[in-house]
Symmetry: C2
Subunit: 328 residues, 2 copies
């Protein structure tokens, strides 16, 4: 069980995240051993654990310091995230994730459906066992509702060349940023902060999540396939148009139309051309500016957080700055 090297610079968090992973592992108990193995491999495949990290950091702000509870809730959010990844890989027909075969690719869609369901349930089990009240479960189920509405909304807009930047932001707010927001909100709230403070934490998480997803989408347009886990531009072929493409299309939609019109029948050459057109029309640079805007919003709000003995505000600032400058 090895943690992402990112955490070496954050020793306390590193040790809490190690416990989080261990608890996730203990929670998974399946009679079907091959599936259990696949789920555990997915858990150990080196995800960055950003959502539980934020949950743990924000759980330091309240007066009720119960680290075991904080770790259990962090495990719960990561299991929820892993569940969505397993189901996303069915939908996206992805063969690999984090350079390992996906559960769907290894075991078929049928196993992946139930394996994802099982992790959803593990998430709710940990929440129900460790949360202080029903309130966190209410927040959690509302977030999940937004996430799924976002995913289903995105599917509805596939191959829609008229999609606007505002709609894209709306979709990624649901798809990615909501879970970051939830982590921060629940982290704070379950440590006994006020609702108002927890809400501010949630807004920080939302901005981090939006920036994070934009950067993820930018990476599709800036890296050779060998350096990222999933095939470059596969999304475009599947009709999912992200920010660099949308911003480039704002400059000259008709340059893209002949390729995008082919939808799933786009060849590798077509996607390469789209890739080059996105660069040519400044889509990547413009998207980077947009990501930076959300990053700055988050960092500014973090600076206004109260100070504490563990220097949490500084850690949050450093971590956020670090992950949102990532190039891989």
């Amino acid at each position: 069980m090895k943690l992402h090297p990112l955490w070496q610079e954050y020793p306390t968090l590193q040790s809490e995240l190690t416990e989080t992973l261990a608890l996730m592992e203990q929670t998974v108990k399946l009679k079907n051993k091959p599936v259990e193995k696949a789920v555990l491999e997915m858990i150990h495949a080196g995800g960055k654990l950003l959502r539980p990290a934020y949950q743990l950091l924000f759980s330091r702000f309240g007066p009720e310091q119960d680290r075991q509870k904080a770790i259990a809730l962090a495990a719960s959010i990561e299991m929820l995230h892993t569940a969505t990844l397993i189901h996303d890989d069915i939908v996206d027909k992805a063969d690999t994730r984090r350079n390992l075969p996906t559960v769907a690719a290894s075991f078929g869609n049928d196993v992946a459906v139930y394996a994802g369901d099982y992790l959803f349930v593990c998430c709710f089990k940990l929440l129900a066992d460790y949360a202080g009240s029903l309130h966190s479960l209410q927040l959690n189920s509302r977030s999940m509702e937004k996430i799924l509405n976002g995913e289903l909304g995105q599917m509805d807009r596939r191959y829609d060349q008229q999609m606007t930047v505002a709609e894209y932001l709306d979709n990624i707010s649901g798809k990615t940023a909501e879970l970051f927001a939830l982590s921060c909100t629940v982290g704070a709230l379950e440590s006994g902060t006020s609702e108002k403070f927890a809400k501010q934490c949630g807004e920080i998480g939302l901005n981090i999540g939006i920036a994070f997803q934009i950067i993820d989408d930018i990476l599709d347009y800036s890296q050779p396939e060998s350096q990222i886990g999933k095939p470059v531009l596969e999304d475009v072929r599947q009709g999912v148009y992200s920010l660099p493409l949308l911003l480039a299309m704002e400059q000259n939609a008709s340059a893209f139309a002949p390729y995008l019109d082919k939808k799933a029948a786009m060849t590798d050459e077509d996607t390469q051309t789209v890739y080059q057109l996105v660069q040519e029309y400044g889509g990547v640079t413009k998207a980077q500016k947009e990501a930076s805007r959300y990053t700055q919003k988050a960092l500014k709000a973090i600076r206004k957080l109260p100070d504490d003995e563990q220097n949490t505000r500084e850690l949050l600032w450093r971590l956020t700055n670090q992950i949102l400058q990532r190039t891989n």
Copy 2:
């Protein structure tokens, strides 16, 4: 929105189930309108609503009579059930359910994955909003864990001609009976009964659920295709061996082996032969006896329930007797 005719004989329950359906409908709010429509159609396709009915009946035993809460919790259990059906239909590659196209068949597996997830979330949302404490959520997530462990366990044993009756009972306890047990337990508990009483209610539910599933499996071996919603004996081709077959195989396993050994390649003639062999070796009759044993256990325990003004004990006895004598 029409209820199954079964409920005409139970007017109070009929009116509460009508409200349950209405609340389920209100709870489903999706931006993706075609998927929303499919989910609503699935909800309205005339499922019997047995699980919410038991939940509502058992919720009459406690001192805390809050019908709005009881209806919300009943809606929650039916949404959970519907979620599992949508995902089961992906796994079983089923084209129809309740004589309507499945969500997976109409919209593809990708939409069905998220639609099922969405209904899971609706279930937890209603629970988190209406349950009196975290306890029901703990029970719910533990039941869901058993259900998924049962489903994944069943997949692991596909095409296993050595499967025992005990293993079959274990699987259906997870797959079907657990949700009946949960309905009865939560119904009682959330109306303020003792834990001990709620546990007894859960055992009644478990026996009803086991009998119900055995009868369902018997129907596969006793009806022409036109009278049941899913293709007869498709399960056998998919390697899911149910009680009538297992009991018949106990008499002469080698008579079945040549056909079952073909696994997914079984022809329609092969499944017809298996059908006839099951009759010949008394599989249906023996399974009926087994179902009857669980039915009697449930009815006996129902007779021992306390009496109340609404005559709930009588209604429970009548309903249970009625649905477990069903021939369709």
